[in-house]
């Protein structure tokens, strides 16, 4: 009967609960609860530290997603010392969360198999998990890297400044000729300190932090932020606002998926699709600009709803553009599947087996391409997705082709969803006032961004301000998936593998 007290508090996406209702478990029970949940098919959506409310000790929180039951679980434990036994050897999907806890709070997860910094910054406390002196400079990327030794082994180092117009990161390949034995990815170059800047908010900047966590995921991150604020403030947004958020979210998915298919074509030297999709991506961005003036959806989603309404003329214009862009997309994308030289570079390249994807906690199209039917829109629905379901597309092979083809399937469904929403858009206001946030509450807001699960966790302090704000971009889960699929691939297939994930550096680095 002790088990009853060991259960995480159950709640759902976008519903706040009093922090007091989250059980404080002993470390052993806390870790067992995570292992049990993962063994039953649940996922670790977030695991993070927070300054304890009543003492110097750090509290660890875990947010578990039970996709089958459409519910979430939250539990916490208190770490009184400077260390705790690492869970990673028994639960690989927490490996980066534990490294993050070590870096942010100076707590050492003892027995962690690869305890390195995540973002190369000083801890928020006076402790340091690596016992570095306060005056010792922390240089990004300067650390041990996994090495393969042997006379014919060579190492290839790339970055942080890359050849293209892309974000900075450092990649270390252990190679035998063309063959990659191991890839290690060191990030942190885009770290700008957003999580600590959120503490004490909301301020006039908070929504802008959300919109720029990952610029190509502005709508999904802004929506998650607003859902968190609205839940804590018990604010009921209108059905019209929710529909417009859904339309903006799917436009964001369309633009990025189309752009990715074009970039994948470019990486295998198939210029027709690369050229067309590069342009068509802009057509979708311009549809978002038609809604709110910004191609990236800046200013669209605001606490209490959305900042821009649509009238019949704007809806008609949007639908007309959607029809034209979808037609262009279908012609451009279907060239890929009919071209043997493209398929030869997509099929069987960079496979991510289903079980590995599950073990690593992969989310989004990358998970679905490996046969995991994971989609927040269906599994943890919020907003418009509680009323309008989008079928979850999956594929079995987990290779570059599957990750490309999943995007094509999702493009078609997003277009249908937008049409459905605009055809029957509910009447009403688009924005309502947001009251003050409740003190001492926790909320988890999940959204299915185009890369996968966007997770925001907000905990309010005694004054109803943010005491802790945790962001988990889908890239945080998925970078390890990219590193994994490079094993035993040719190094020349790195670009196409990389693009098939197309992960965010800034979303990871925060």
């Amino acid at each position: 009967m002790i088990r009853e007290f060991a259960e995480p508090a159950a709640f759902t996406n976008g519903r706040s609960i009093a922090t007091d209702s989250i059980p404080v478990l002993t470390l052993e029970v806390f870790q067992t609860a995570i292992l049990d949940a993962v063994a039953q098919g649940q996922r670790v959506a977030a695991m993070f530290g927070a300054a304890g409310a009543r003492s110097e000790a750090i509290e660890l929180y875990v947010i578990l997603a039970d996709d089958g039951e459409n519910s979430l679980g939250a539990a916490r434990t208190t770490i009184a010392s400077d260390a705790f036994p690492s869970l990673t050897p028994r639960c690989p999907q927490v490996h980066l969360f534990e490294r993050e806890i070590a870096e942010q709070f100076g707590l050492c997860p003892t027995g962690h198999p690869w305890l390195k910094p995540v973002r190369f910054r000083r801890s928020w406390t006076r402790r340091d998990a690596w016992n570095r002196a306060p005056e010792q400079a922390i240089v990004p990327g300067v650390s041990d890297f996994y090495r393969v030794d042997g006379e014919e082994i060579h190492e290839v180092a790339v970055g942080p400044v890359h050849a293209g117009v892309i974000e900075p990161g450092h990649f270390r390949f252990q190679c035998h000729g063309e063959q990659v034995f191991h890839l290690e990815i060191a990030l942190g170059y885009q770290h700008r300190g957003v999580e600590e800047a959120m503490i004490g908010g909301p301020t006039a900047r908070s929504i802008h932090y959300a919109e720029t966590l990952a610029g190509d995921t502005t709508i999904a991150h802004a929506t998650a932020y607003c859902q968190a604020v609205e839940a804590l403030a018990n604010c009921q947004k209108t059905a019209r606002a929710q529909a417009l958020r859904g339309v903006a979210l799917e436009l964001e998915r369309l633009a990025n998926h189309v752009g990715d298919l074009g970039a994948l074509a470019g990486d295998v030297g198939f210029l027709p699709t690369a050229s067309y999709c590069g342009r068509i991506r802009g057509d979708f961005l311009n549809m978002t600009a038609l809604l709110c003036g910004s191609r990236f959806g800046r200013g669209m989603v605001r606490p209490g709803g959305v900042a821009f309404d649509v009238d019949d003329a704007r809806v008609a214009d949007l639908l007309k553009r959607l029809d034209a862009a979808e037609k262009d997309t279908a012609i451009a994308v279907n060239l890929l599947w009919d071209t043997p030289s493209v398929m030869a570079r997509f099929e069987d390249i960079g496979p991510l087996p289903r079980q590995i994807a599950a073990d690593l906690g992969i989310v989004g199209p990358a998970a679905r391409a490996s046969g995991l039917a994971r989609d927040v829109r269906r599994d943890q629905p919020s907003g418009i997705f509680r009323f309008a379901q989008i079928p979850v597309s999956t594929y079995e092979t987990g290779d570059v082709f599957a990750r490309a083809y999943i995007r094509w399937l999702e493009i078609q469904q997003s277009g249908e969803f937008i049409r459905g929403q605009l055809a029957a858009i509910p009447s009403g206001a688009v924005r309502v006032p947001v009251p003050a946030m409740a003190p001492n509450h926790l909320v988890v807001a999940l959204d299915e961004g185009w890369r996968g699960e966007v997770c925001h966790v907000a905990i309010t302090d005694g004054e109803g301000r943010f005491g802790r704000y945790k962001v988990v971009d889908p890239s945080f889960h998925n970078w390890t998936g990219l590193a994994y699929v490079l094993r035993n691939q040719q190094i020349s297939d790195f670009p196409v593998c990389n693009k098939s994930f197309n992960l965010s550096y800034c979303g990871h680095d925060l």
Partner: protein
């Protein structure tokens, strides 16, 4: 093969005629250059200052807006009880001097960027190769710089190209607030470019730090590390704003042209 030809026929020629033809129309809700109407700002209520997330609006002797800090969020426009601040559809924003981005209430002109001097023009006027350095932003500026390379804009027709190595480049195009973790890489990349060289800062982050102004983890823009020759405001700037800035620098658009309301 026939499908490829048919697709080529169907997709047609889509490169913008700009600058020889008209610029593509801006969306009606586009938030471009801000304008202050002096007659309406009478009591100095400072509501707009409180609304601005990045302290882009300032009021000392007179009301000013620093377009280099501005996120173009229009919170100041919404906040002003007198409707003294308005957004225009004006996309032309690039300036050659940081101070030129600060626009005042009785000085309605924004001094747009002038062309490079004769020596640089001789070197770069018909072939400008840039190395892009992404340094602590959100990747939206990078995305809309990349857009200029698509068939819709075809940056190559102006002789401008993004190159893979600083050794091949005539200058840098910086995005992001310059995180501490990118300072060394930015400095090394700049040093690797052979002189004479130019630096272009794209977006609020690269000009001032943008949303991250004042954070310990960022240095507050490109000119904290390297000298900047062209500032292109926006969060992110529209591709047309970026192209306009580049073409002004190359003297392809009338230099000294001024914005009038």
């Amino acid at each position: 093969m026939f499908e490829v030809i048919a697709a080529r026929w169907q997709q047609g020629h889509r490169t913008t005629k700009y600058p020889d033809g008209p610029a593509p129309p801006m969306p009606d809700r586009f938030r471009g250059r801000l304008v202050i109407d002096v007659a309406k700002c009478t009591d100095g209520c400072r509501t707009c200052l409180q609304a601005c997330p990045t302290a882009a609006v300032s009021l000392t002797d007179k009301l000013r807006i620093d377009l280099g800090r501005c996120l173009f969020c229009a919170e100041c426009v919404a906040a002003c009880p007198q409707q003294a601040i308005t957004h225009t559809n004006e996309y032309r924003l690039a300036a050659g001097r940081r101070a030129d981005l600060v626009v005042g209430h009785d000085d309605r002109d924004l001094h747009l960027a002038a062309a490079m001097d004769a020596k640089l023009m001789k070197l770069f006027g018909r072939s400008l190769k840039l190395r892009q350095v992404s340094a602590g932003g959100c990747n939206a500026c990078e995305a809309d710089v990349n857009v200029l390379g698509t068939v819709g804009w075809d940056l190559g027709r102006f002789g401008i190209q993004m190159v893979a190595s600083p050794r091949h480049a005539d200058g840098l195009l910086i995005t992001g607030a310059v995180s501490r973790n990118m300072e060394l890489a930015l400095r090394k990349t700049y040093d690797a470019v052979a002189g004479p060289k130019i630096v272009i800062a794209v977006g609020a982050c690269a000009i001032s730090g943008g949303p991250y102004i004042g954070h310990d983890q960022v240095l507050g823009g490109g000119d904290a590390v390297v000298p900047v020759d062209l500032y292109i405001p926006g969060c992110p700037p529209h591709p047309l704003t970026i192209l306009d800035g580049l073409l002004r620098l190359l003297g392809r658009i009338e230099s000294g042209e001024r914005l009038l309301r």
